[in-house]
Amino acid sequence: MVSNQGNFKSDLVVYVAILALACVQVFFLKGHLFALLSVAIVQAILAVMFFMHLGSEKPTLRLALIPGTLFVLVMLNMIWADSYRLMSMKPFAK
């Protein structure tokens, strides 16, 4: 297998960045959903691209993996309307 393991210095920078972002979440963003999720997405991108080395794989692999996963996760957002329906019409709409 061709090695694409990066170097220790970049791994250490990513490690510190992920931990620093975790501290930002805990100390400054508690209770703020969109800010928390935005930071989590940045952490996830760092982990996938540098720890999992997807950034140095072939672009076709990224194309095969990322859009499909994002499509599923974006489509899951359709549930929110129903959760609000339960909130205002509970126990259930007749």
Binding site: Q5, A22, V39, F51, L76
Partner: protein
């Protein structure tokens, strides 16, 4: 290539190129990871759904629990760094260092599991059960234990898999590629935790 060519040996040495220029087992791990990402995604969405639909969702996590979650993050992200070190040493042919770093990763994974169980026990002693708790919506316990339990199962099974792979690597059954592939899984477990902490802990912190 026709059957005649094959029977005459014309196909000897001709192999289909590897998809995406990676070994098949690495591709399989990536496919497993994206399917598992969708599973965790669905669980977190379901969690958001029931939380959104409940008028009295509890916020039980005090600062001690939040700091424990932050420490667990530190342990898990550090274990990601140590498995990277292990894989790098394995690729460089330094077998003893690779084994050493992977064992450190396994110990960190088990430490994470112990911290997680401590958190669980605290909640159970506080009266949280699958379908009841002292604070509000009864489904809080089921959703909390389902998400964190699934993640905990991934951590424990990942630690067991790394143990099997590193022992196999030590005895010559597996190679550095196998360690790299299970390293991918370990990073994924770390990645999922990055979403569990904000959704489950930080959104339910006691004011």
């Amino acid at each position: 290539m026709s059957e005649a060519d094959l029977s005459m040996g014309h196909g000897a040495g001709v192999m289909e190129t590897r998809p995406f220029s990676i070994p098949s087992k690495k591709l399989v791990m990536w496919l497993f990871i994206i399917s598992d990402a969708c599973t965790f995604g669905a669980m977190l969405f379901a969690y958001g759904y029931v939380k959104n639909a409940a008028a009295d969702w509890p916020h039980p996590f005090e600062s001690a629990s939040i700091m424990n979650a932050l420490f667990m993050t530190f342990v898990l992200v550090t274990s990601s760094l140590t498995i990277l070190m292990g894989v790098r040493q394995a690729k460089a042919g330094n077998k003893s260092k690779a084994i050493q770093w992977t064992f450190i990763t396994i110990v960190l994974g088990l430490a994470f599991a112990a911290l997680h169980l401590k958190e669980w026990m605290g909640l159970i002693h506080g009266g949280v059960r699958l379908f009841q708790n002292p604070w509000g919506s009864p489904i809080f316990g089921a959703s909390f234990f389902a998400i964190t339990g699934l993640h905990l199962a991934h951590v424990v099974s990942g630690a067991v898999a790394l143990l099997v792979v590193i022992l196999g690597y030590k005895w010559g059954r597996y190679n550095s590629d196998d360690l790299e592939i299970w390293g991918l899984y370990w990073h994924f477990v770390d990645l999922v935790w990055m979403f569990v902490v904000p959704m489950v802990y930080l959104m339910n912190a006691k004011a």
